[in-house]
C-alpha cells in the first residue's frame, strides 16, 4: 500500500492539538514575558521570519544549493556503495581481506573529515561533497554487502541450472534478491547526506541552508534562524517522502518488504 498517502490522510486529532497547544503556550509565555530568554522569538515572529525569507528569495537560493549538494553527494555515495557492496557481497575472499579495514574506517565520525576537506579543497562544493560522501557511503555499502551475502544459496543453484553467466547471475538474481536491503541503505544514506551537508555548510563551505542558520545566529536574528531550522526540517521530511515514493513507483514489491525497516 502507498503508506505515505494513507498515513497523512488520517487526521490525528490529539496530535494536532498537542502541537497547537504547545505553540500557543510558547506564544503566550514569550509575549507575556514569563520566559526571560532575550533571543527566543514567539511562534508568530518565526512565521513572520519565514515570510521574510520567502519574499527575499534568499531562501530559494540557499535551499537549491543544499539540495544540489545533498543529491550529488548521495548519488556518488550510492553508486560507489552499491558497486563496492556487490563486489564484497559476491566474493567471500574479498570480504575476508577487507572487512576489518572497513570496520576500522566506518566508525570515523564524518565531521572529522571537515578540516581535512577544507585543507584540500577550501571553501567549495568539493569540500561539501567529501564530507557528505565518505560517511553516507557506509549504510549503502554495508546493506548491499549484507543483502548480497544473505541471498539464499538455492537461488545460485537456480542460476547454475540455467547456465547463467556470472554477470547475469548478478543482474538477474543477486540484485533483485538484495534489493530490499539495498533500499534501506539508500534511505539511511539520504538522511545522513542531508545532515552532513548542513554540517559542511556550517563549518566548511559558507553557502546553503546550513550557513543560513549560522549567519542568522551571528546576525542576532533569532526569528530568521528558527525559520531556517524549520525549513531544514521540512526539507528532510520531503526528501525522505520523495525517495519512498520513488521506490514505490520503481520497485513496488521490494518497497513493501522494505517498509518498517
Amino acid at each position: 500500500m502507498p503508506s505515505t498517502a494513507i498515513r497523512t490522510a488520517r487526521i490525528n486529532g490529539p496530535g494536532l492539538l498537542t502541537i497547537v497547544v504547545c505553540a500557543l503556550l510558547w506564544e503566550v509565555l514569550v509575549r507575556g514575558g514569563v520566559i526571560q530568554y532575550s533571543y527566543l522569538p514567539a511562534p508568530t515572529a518565526i512565521l513572520a521570519g519565514l515570510y521574510e525569507l520567502l519574499s527575499t528569495g534568499q531562501l530559494w537560493a540557499d535551499t537549491a544549493h543544499t539540495l544540489q549538494a545533498v543529491i550529488m553527494g548521495w548519488a556518488i555515495a550510492v553508486a560507489t556503495g552499491i558497486a563496492l557492496g556487490l563486489m564484497l557481497g559476491v566474493s567471500p575472499m574479498l570480504r575476508r581481506y577487507s572487512l576489518a579495514s572497513i570496520e576500522v574506517l566506518r566508525p570515523m565520525p564524518g565531521i572529522a573529515f571537515v578540516p581535512v576537506a577544507l585543507l584540500l579543497f577550501g571553501f567549495s562544493l568539493k569540500t561539501e561533497l567529501v564530507v557528505i560522501v565518505l560517511p553516507a557511503l557506509w549504510p549503502v555499502l554495508i546493506n548491499t554487502m549484507g543483502g548480497v551475502a544473505g541471498v539464499h544459496p538455492r537461488l545460485f543453484e537456480v542460476g547454475a541450472t540455467f547456465r547463467l553467466s556470472r554477470a547475469s547471475v548478478v543482474v538477474k538474481i543477486v540484485i533483485p534478491a538484495a534489493l530490499p536491503s539495498i533500499l534501506v541503505g539508500l534511505r539511511l544514506s539520504l538522511t545522513l547526506a542531508l545532515v552532513l551537508a548542513i554540517v559542511a555548510e556550517m563549518v566548511g563551505n559558507p553557502t546553503g541552508l546550513g550557513y543560513a542558520v549560522v549567519r542568522d545566529q551571528q546576525a542576532l536574528r533569532p526569528a530568521l534562524m528558527f525559520a531556517d531550522v524549520i525549513v531544514i526540517g521540512i526539507l528532510g521530511i520531503l526528501l525522505n517522502q520523495a525517495l519512498m515514493q520513488l521506490i514505490w513507483w520503481l520497485f513496488p514489491a521490494a518497497s513493501r518488504r522494505t517498509r518498517g525497516a
Binding site: 571537515v114 536491503s181 531550522v229
Partner: protein, 263 residues
C-alpha cells in the same frame, strides 16, 4: 533501521579476521612511500605520528581529549535516561503516543547540527549547551526503539500480569522494562556515533575546549599533519567506543531475559 543493526550484529560480535586490515595497511604504506618530503596537503603517516607527539607535548591534547570524552559520556547517559523513560511512557499509552507522535516526528526530522546555533543563542557558549544539543540528537534512536519494543511485547506476558492482578506500575516495572532492554541497547548503538559527531561539531563551531576545537584550529593554521593526527585519534576513539559497546551489549544479552532462580 533495526533490521540493519541486526544484520550488523554477527559481523561485529565475531570481529572480522585481522588479515582484513591488509588493504588499509597497504594504503598507508603506499601513502608514506609516495611521499618523499613534507607535503602541505598529504603529509605521510610518519608525519602524523610526529604531529601527535608535538600536540601531546603542548599538553593540551590530554585535556582536550578528556573534555570531549566527558561530554560524550554525559550526553549519552542523559539521552539514555530521557529516551528510555519517554520511550516506555509513549509505548505504554496509546493516547500519549497519538498526542505526541506528530510533534516528535517533526522534531526528529530536524537535522541535529541545525540545533547548534539555536542552542548557542538561547543558552550561550557553555557545557550545558553542548549537552542539550547532544541529548536532542541522541534521544531519538533510543526513544523510538524503546517505544516500538513496548508495543511488540508478547500479549501473553501482559495477560500474565493481569492474572496476577499486578498494578499498572508493577506491570511496567516487572514486564515492560525488562522486555525492552534489547531494543534499548540497539538504540544506544545507533546513538553512539551521533553523540560523537555532535560533540565534535559543537566544539568546532563554538571553540569550546575539545578535540573538535583543536582540529579546526589546526586546519586554520594549515597544520595538515596535526589535522590528520587528530583524525586518526578521533577515529580510534570511535572504534574503541563502538567495540566496547558491542562487548557490553553481548554480555548483557547473553543472560537476557534474566533467569530467575527456580525456573
Amino acid at each position: 533501521m533495526r533490521a540493519f543493526i541486526k544484520r550488523m550484529g554477527p559481523l561485529l560480535v565475531n570481529l572480522p579476521p585481522l588479515r582484513g586490515l591488509l588493504p588499509l595497511v597497504a594504503f598507508l604504506v603506499v601513502w608514506q612511500l609516495v611521499q618523499p618530503g613534507p607535503s602541505p596537503y598529504f603529509p605521510g603517516p610518519f608525519e602524523w605520528w610526529r604531529a601527535t607527539l608535538r600536540l601531546a607535548h603542548r599538553t593540551d591534547l590530554a585535556a582536550a581529549f578528556l573534555s570531549t570524552a566527558t561530554t560524550f559520556l554525559l550526553g549519552l547517559a542523559l539521552a539514555i535516561v530521557f529516551g528510555g523513560v519517554m520511550g516506555v511512557l509513549i509505548g505504554v499509552s496509546a493516547f500519549i503516543n497519538r498526542a505526541l507522535h506528530p510533534l516528535l516526528e517533526f522534531m526528529r526530522a530536524i537535522p541535529p547540527p541545525a540545533t547548534v546555533p539555536v542552542a548557542a543563542l538561547l543558552i550561550g557558549y557553555n557545557e550545558a549547551m553542548k549537552l542539550v544539543v547532544i541529548v536532542l540528537a541522541a534521544l531519538w534512536p533510543i526513544l523510538l526503539n524503546t517505544s516500538a519494543a513496548v508495543r511488540q511485547i508478547d500479549p501473553l506476558l501482559l495477560d500474565v500480569a493481569r492474572t496476577f492482578r499486578l498494578r499498572r506500575a508493577d506491570t511496567i516495572w516487572r514486564i515492560t522494562v525488562p522486555s525492552v532492554v534489547p531494543a534499548l541497547l540497539l538504540g544506544i548503538r545507533v546513538a553512539i556515533p551521533l553523540t560523537i559527531i555532535l560533540a565534535l561539531l559543537v566544539e568546532m563551531l563554538t571553540s569550546l575546549p575539545g578535540i573538535g576545537a583543536l582540529m579546526i584550529q589546526a586546519q586554520r593554521n594549515f597544520q595538515s599533519s596535526e589535522v590528520y593526527a587528530l583524525l586518526v585519534l578521533i577515529g580510534l576513539f570511535g572504534l574503541i567506543v563502538n567495540d566496547a559497546f558491542v562487548v557490553i551489549e553481548t554480555v548483557i544479552l547473553r543472560s537476557w531475559p534474566p533467569r530467575v532462580a527456580g525456573t
